[in-house]
Symmetry: C2
Subunit: 181 residues, 2 copies
């Protein structure tokens, strides 16, 4: 399959409901534990997704589509949620994410993007020139990446409990180097 806007929105519009189905009213034993050191808990990941809806995907789309000569993106703060989530419950963050995602997808649909729009570019602080096509594909894979990360962080809590079955469970073999991704 090649990238299409329609197929991308299919994933992006499902993510809030997937996270609700997995995490709504679940015990905080599952959501406040991380993978050690500076790694993220499930709670931290949801805060990161909220921050992305506010400052990353649609703001960068707007920069790419703007008529401005300067199309540099602001760097994305991967640790902003540690401050921004303070005092909020997981349920509040899940609701906030759902609201922001719905609003962002409404804006995205309203743009009625053409193939020519998808080839427009912006300037990423590390990569240089990137296309809107690449940004929107990344939005989709970023959702799936963090959903898989949430599964891994939760699975890790039963690392010792599975005994010899650890040999069959690939999720327990993934490097903790991926913990911040």
């Amino acid at each position: 399959m090649n990238f299409t806007l329609e197929r991308s929105i299919e994933i992006l519009e499902r993510t809030p409901e997937v996270l609700m189905a997995l995490l709504q009213n679940i015990s905080s034993d599952w959501t406040l534990v991380n993978e050690g050191g500076e790694t993220w808990s499930v709670y931290d990941v949801i805060g990161h997704l909220v921050h992305g809806e506010k400052t990353d995907w649609m703001p960068r789309t707007e920069i790419i589509l703007s008529g401005n000569a300067d199309k540099r993106f602001s760097p994305f703060d991967r640790f902003a949620q540690l401050k921004e989530s303070q005092g909020k419950s997981l349920m509040q963050l899940l609701e906030e994410f759902k609201m922001l995602r719905t609003k962002n997808l409404e804006q995205l649909r309203n743009k009625k993007l053409t193939e020519a729009d998808l080839m427009q570019t912006g300037l990423h602080p590390a990569f240089g020139e990137v296309t809107l096509h690449q940004l929107l594909a990344t939005w989709v894979v970023h959702d799936l990446n963090h959903l898989a990360q949430i599964c891994r962080v939760m699975a890790n809590q039963y690392r010792e409990d599975v005994g010899p079955w650890t040999a069959y469970l690939g999720i327990l073999k993934q490097s903790s180097q991926q913990a911040l991704q």
Copy 2:
């Protein structure tokens, strides 16, 4: 967190709804493609989960708790779904999984397992003696493992589309060696 039956059921009872939220009525462009060779598509993974509900988790629990002298498990056929799913739509498999999981968790709850029950053992064809505690913890991690796998299989379809962002997306770096797990 240490393993508890209550915390385990929290995950097990959510999985059917999580899969519905992610996959219900989604385009088959997302669900019929695998990661190459003999690897599994999303459709294959759901068939595997259905087969596990029928032949793995609760049947093995029954063997462990039985008074029989012979507590050997039947080997689990990891490719059974390739035949069993024939002619069924993804939606039919998702509904079947939900129905079987609900029934299995009802049976599990009705057993009112004690700590002593959780220490009972069965004989795994490859590992030898395993406890009910380990079997039930594995059921939970197996759900999370396959949910993460589904995310990876879907993300892989946009591998080329994300361009330079591949460097930030751990899910695209995972070895295809994990494709069958």
